[in-house]
Symmetry: C2
Subunit: 259 residues, 2 copies
Amino acid sequence: MTYCLGLRTKAGLVMASDSRSNAGIDQVNICCKMHTFVVPGERVFVLLSSGNLSLTQSILARIEQEFHSGRGLVDVANFYDAARCVGRHVREISALDGPFMERDNIAYAVNFLLGGQIRGEEPQIYMVYAQGNPLRCTRTAPFLQIGESKYGRPILDRGIRYEDTSLEQAVKYAMISLDSTMRSNVSVGPPIDLIVYAADELEIRRYRRFSEPDTELSAIRSSWDRELRQAIGALPSITFEEQPPDRELGITHTFFRGL
Amino acid sequence: MTYCLGLRTKAGLVMASDSRSNAGIDQVNICCKMHTFVVPGERVFVLLSSGNLSLTQSILARIEQEFHSGRGLVDVANFYDAARCVGRHVREISALDGPFMERDNIAYAVNFLLGGQIRGEEPQIYMVYAQGNPLRCTRTAPFLQIGESKYGRPILDRGIRYEDTSLEQAVKYAMISLDSTMRSNVSVGPPIDLIVYAADELEIRRYRRFSEPDTELSAIRSSWDRELRQAIGALPSITFEEQPPDRELGITHTFFRGL
């Protein structure tokens, strides 16, 4: 399993990924799911991947080859075309490997998040599906997730606002979202790769890998556990009724012995 | 969809359920998923249901009939047998309706949580699967969930401890878990039914239904949103590296124009 997320606020982007790869529960490896493609001062791409590792490796290998030959992501005119470029490689590998997998009932399962910026445009994030089609991250739904997305979603739903959330806040939301997911699903695991990208930087200036043990990650965890308990403690209390509604509502059944 | 949960601490139990029932997205109803069966001073059962509503209704109807005739849950010798009693009804309806559903490729999907206490035993919670087999809630994993369980799990993973968590705290964790799930999945919805059961009460004394709008639920939500922002703000900050690791590690690709 995998968990990757991309947060998009007015101030910029936070892109983060776990590093656990598993084929069944007895073949577990560390695998970096974050790749960056930079033309300094001009364009920055952070590509996060989930799904079948053999497929994402092939797709990445071709994106890399193209990039270093001065085509593909180096060359696309805008961010939408960049997402289409990733989608094109997804489709090429689908054409190459898909039929052989289908024959053995193995799903062609890959997903990508492409975040970054091309000079002259806003920072953006796209999801690219296994079918190659792109989905853009909007201001009203300012984050995208791939992989094991549910555990880490509530904290983002409550916290991330395009207009208001600072990058310093966003990075903390991302860390809690990832940490919660790792805690609830053992197939999502460290190291965590994290990039914070402020609008118009057009290069990568803030990168962090959290391996285990990591003193800052431990400090975040224990602080969060402590703060969460305080937050629960501070919630207003609830008034109760002494009885559930009567039988009319179908909820309550009482049996009196000897009646 | 549905979300029901049962928390078990040394002090007692918290049982809670949402009330949304839907068949597709254009047939949405309110449906209470919490039913109580009480022999005052002797035994208390809180039964929460998820899955196909036609099936859970049939199973409940039979459990109710049996109960009011002085058999079944009124009569079982211990809580394990109570869970087996629910499982027996699950299997009877499976035998009655299962083959006709199977013929049309409809899954026999039901799950129950049975919480409560029989005098002389500890309070307990069991899950009963669609196959009728029971699973007991243990001290080391002190909660059980059915339905849409992932969104509401991280807060429980961080908060609920069998020995330490008070019922007053547990009820707040349950509310946040349910509220987070309603926020992330529209097919989980109000009213919320909630029962707090202290060990050895052997009757129901604290019941609460939160409809929309509910001033206490709104107060909990806004308090939580505020507290969560403070908690995020209080997290220690992160130090970054200026660059991701170099190409050897496969993460970084840089293209210099004109080289």
